[in-house]
Assembly symmetry: C2
Homo-oligomer: 597 residues x 2
């Protein structure tokens, strides 16, 4: 089989294709045509052409040279995987590393044409890259997919079954969602949706095409009177299809028919998102002379609607948290016992055991992302992913950081706890306490309507800043309802994001502190923006996550009174909600973990 082709052979095949198409260079990103966070193997073109299989990277190939751009998370892995490939590593964020456009200018003649698969660049990303190349006197062209011909043995498109999420879980019928979407566009317009979680949310469907995210590969066209779902028909059970048709006027058409459909929209008003629709589809619409209406925000109207959870979804989140909380209590009891008995499970064993506790619960539909279980210095690697080489046994000198989440029919969870099973040092206590104080202050904050996440972010960071520390990831990301663990459009981070926090939005609250080579700390709950009865429109957060927060490394004296009160109140709620779901032994354990400080 062709799996045995070498990277140089694959590069040669691409170069032949480039030559046939008169391209001076070709750029291979990590995207799929739907701009998903996780990409199915069918679109793993960048990994196939380079041998580098980290989640983030872009390969550029010219007739003579090839290079891969990736970020610091992957420098070591890329060095190893690129060895012997002839592909140079370009370290993003390191001084002296050229941009793609600069590198291309150095290695191409002026006015050379650079090709990209138009399906893998959003219109906005294509336009931006084009501007950069024009500055270097190069041309950018959207092409077809070269890997369709050169990648022998390419994995097929995934074809997992799609399930319908009943209104008992979604809280809003598909017909009603479609009606609300149509209100956001001119009466005679068609909206084209390519972003998979927008489609899943709109149609109350969930799939299994993509790891961790319950999505299915598809496009959706919302017309004035009907909607058309472009999807491999075999994924949709006939009763689901019938229900979609009868209750919401949704017709099903083959995935491959989408491009053809676009050509029928000539003269029509078509609402499109430059950040959510690929360049090839965009060019098809332009070629058909459709009247394009760009979404008024970078994230699109459906994402904005999806971000505000309804009462049923919120109640579902609360149930998911109870299930998750029970699993986490059982897991932590097991972990403590393992430490006590000297069993010293490894990071990988810990992650597997946590999975098993979650899987034993009801309605569990898999993890919402790959569990991060990092002991000691591994905890300081923000996106640590255990490998056979890195896997190490738990010890009692440092922190164990566990960031994990579950998918349930009723909601999605994402939680981080940091444990210490020995005697924390003064530095460890100081660091842990500073992280927790920030987590509490943000969780306990009250703020006026129309507040943006960037205004609140400092509440989670200020104790770290005061001691000269910081964390370079966001404090909070939106989270889907039995959907993607990362979703927009709101965020809580240092960067400005004009989206205001609205009642019904669920996001994480996850400050951290990472001392390279020593330890990492992160404490994360999910928090819901909630109304208050305070006059003049003040909002607050309701903490959804139900799981004790370790106090082993907490300097209780360093808590301010409101922080101590918050912690005690939170723990009382954790006990009140979880205890009825636990055995007497577990209840006793939880009572101890949630006693007031």
């Amino acid at each position: 089989m062709t799996a045995a082709t070498t990277i140089p052979q694959r590069l040669a095949a691409l170069r032949q294709w480039m030559h046939d198409h008169s391209l001076g260079a070709f750029v291979v990103p990590s995207n799929d045509p739907h701009f998903s966070e996780y990409v199915t193997p069918h679109w793993g073109c960048r990994a196939w052409i380079s041998g580098f299989d980290g989640s983030a990277g872009t390969v550029v190939v010219t007739a003579e040279r090839a290079a891969l751009w990736t970020d610091s998370r992957y420098f070591l892995q890329a060095e190893t995987q690129l060895r012997g490939s002839g592909i140079e590593l370009q370290r993003m964020g390191v001084a002296g590393t050229p941009s793609l456009a600069e590198w291309l200018q150095q290695h191409l003649h002026a006015n050379s044409v650079v090709g990209v698969d138009g399906a893998l660049f959003s219109r906005a990303a294509f336009d931006q890259f084009q501007r950069e190349l024009v500055e270097q006197q190069l041309e950018l062209r959207a092409t077809d997919d070269p890997f369709a011909s050169i990648w022998k043995g390419r994995p097929p498109m995934p074809s997992e079954t799609v399930i319908a999420l009943s209104e008992q879980y979604s809280g809003e019928s598909t017909a009603h969602k479609l009606a609300r979407i149509r209100q956001q566009q001119p009466q005679d317009a068609v909206r084209i949706i390519a972003v998979l979680d927008e489609i899943a949310w709109t149609l109350n469907l969930r799939g299994g095409d993509i790891a961790y995210n319950p999505l299915f590969i598809s496009y959706l066209a919302v017309e004035p009177q009907r909607a058309v779902l472009f999807v491999q028909p075999q994924k949709i059970a006939s009763d689901t299809a019938k229900q979609l048709q009868e209750e919401a006027d949704v017709e099903i058409s083959p995935y491959e028919a989408f491009t053809e459909y676009l050509t029928t929209l000539g003269g029509k008003k078509v609402v499109v998102n430059p950040n959510g629709l690929d360049t090839r589809s965009w060019e098809a619409l332009e070629h058909a002379e459709a009247h394009l209406i760009r979404e008024s925000t970078p994230y699109g109207a459906v994402s904005a609607m999806k971000a505000v959870k309804n009462r049923t979804e919120i109640e579902g989140f609360r149930q998911a948290m109870e299930r998750d909380g029970v699993a986490l209590v059982r897991f932590e009891r097991w972990l403590e016992e393992a430490v006590r008995s000297g069993a010293r499970p490894t990071e990988r064993q810990i992650a597997e055991r946590l999975h098993a506790f979650r899987a034993a619960g009801e309605e569990f539909r898999g993890e919402s992302f790959e569990t991060i279980a990092g002991y000691g210095d591994h905890g300081a690697i923000v996106h640590y992913s255990v490998t056979p080489e890195s896997d190490c046994p738990l010890d009692t000198e440092s922190f164990l950081l566990i960031d994990s989440g579950g998918q349930y029919l009723c909601g999605t969870t994402d939680i981080t706890r940091t444990y210490h099973f020995g005697r924390p040092t003064a530095e460890q206590r100081r660091d842990y306490t500073a992280v927790l104080k920030g987590m509490i202050d943000l969780s306990a904050s009250q703020f006026p309507v129309r507040t943006r996440g960037a205004q609140l972010d400092v509440l989670a960071r200020r104790y770290l800043w005061a001691q000269g520390d910081n964390y370079l990831h966001g404090t909070g990301h939106g989270i889907g309802h039995f959907l993607c663990v990362h979703e927009g459009p709101q965020s809580i981070r240092m960067n400005e994001n004009p989206v205001v926090l609205q009642p019904g939005m669920v996001q994480s609250c996850e400050p951290g502190l990472y001392r390279a080579g020593s330890h990492g700390i992160r404490i994360e709950n999910l928090i819901l923006v909630s109304e208050t009865d305070v006059p003049n429109g003040f909002l607050r957060f309701e903490t959804l996550t139900l799981c004790p927060i370790s106090t082993t490394a907490l300097d209780i004296e360093a808590l301010e009174r409101p922080q101590r009160e918050w912690l005690n109140s939170y723990h009382a709620e954790v006990y009140r909600r979880l205890a009825p779901l636990l055995t007497p032994d577990e209840q006793a354990w939880l009572r101890d973990k949630t006693r007031p400080v």
Copy 2:
């Protein structure tokens, strides 16, 4: 004299002028051609045409009607002053109030032409207004100044003497500043500067043309080899002119020659700020076919340079604070004695007395803005300006809010203190304490380089938000060095402002709380962004203002430990710095006011 003309007569004269120029409407803003915060009487066209003399307002006149738009600060004043004028009041921010463009659409035929004096609209403001009018199918045209002919007895341009600020105060020579400015533009370009504080800063000159702001009406052109200052020549003493020429190649040309000069720039690169240059000048440059280069930021390169104070300027601020502090100590002692003796001075008398204490010090060059001295419910009016009708005697039931500042050769001050001379109620104590805690938290914060003001703003507001309160003004504005009390480009406020806080920037820290009809509280210091020796680039604030903060209404038990420590440390510093400048009696008084809590 024509001062006796009535508003209807003035409107009639403008309408005749509009008729002669085929204009359907004319818009009169509050601006001068330099977009100054304070406008000299010469450009008081809007006040002259309407009789309304508040600081903010725009008059629109059609053949049949006239209307004035102003904000809630001025609703009452405008109602009174417009009575009998035939000018309707449009209340900005009140539901149902049309925008100017909407109102014009209602009262004009389609395709009518709306005129504005091109000198009073920046290019950016003109373009924005034009877009709004085009949406209403109206046309906007920049005209000459109708008031040049119709306003008989118009006050002349001010012609106060300009003084040179020696390097002892400015810390950087004019030649050096010009060299730095030229580094920010193409070698062969000319930069046009119309904003008065940018000109004063660049040339190390100060004037007296405008109330409170030591500015002089002028334009500046920074050419590659020389600079040209357009100013009434009699304002500049001959030795100053000679020094400018010899040391910095600055030539002086009459103010009126500026427009003629612009016509000589055909074919040249000209750096201009669309927010800082008027439309008439802009059109002259376009007509001459100059190659216009727009400034890359909305505020312009010179404002960015001016905002970062050098060591001499910072040392000057510290001196100004000592002078201001001595005056404020003497003032507060007098005030306490007045209360004790039952003298009950009025707000106006209090403001006058404060002025006298400042004026008794060295290098005082007037107030930096009109003192706000508001007792009780007057303190709740954010921009309270005492009138003969409103003036009231001090009492001991509520707070006295005093916001004031001084201009000194060595710097500019701006300080607010809120006093209570009786027994504060529980609500008064709660409110005062919440304001002070926020003021302290922001002042004491440490933050990474590249932090924006909007990220820190919540530190000043969170205790207020927690009790369901807020204030709708900014927390901090930049302040000039013996220049304008309000300057950009940085700010600390709820709105996003992409300008990062840099070492050397001086701004206010002034949270407040306003209970309409009851009381107002504001506590304001000036704070300097300062480097720290913390690794990885952390900044902090140095508090510059030296004046005790009243603890009469402070609930000391509600302070967190770091807040209490900050207050005690601040008061110790106030005593240390001011005591040597005071008499023994004053020292004893200050020791009492600054004792640890």
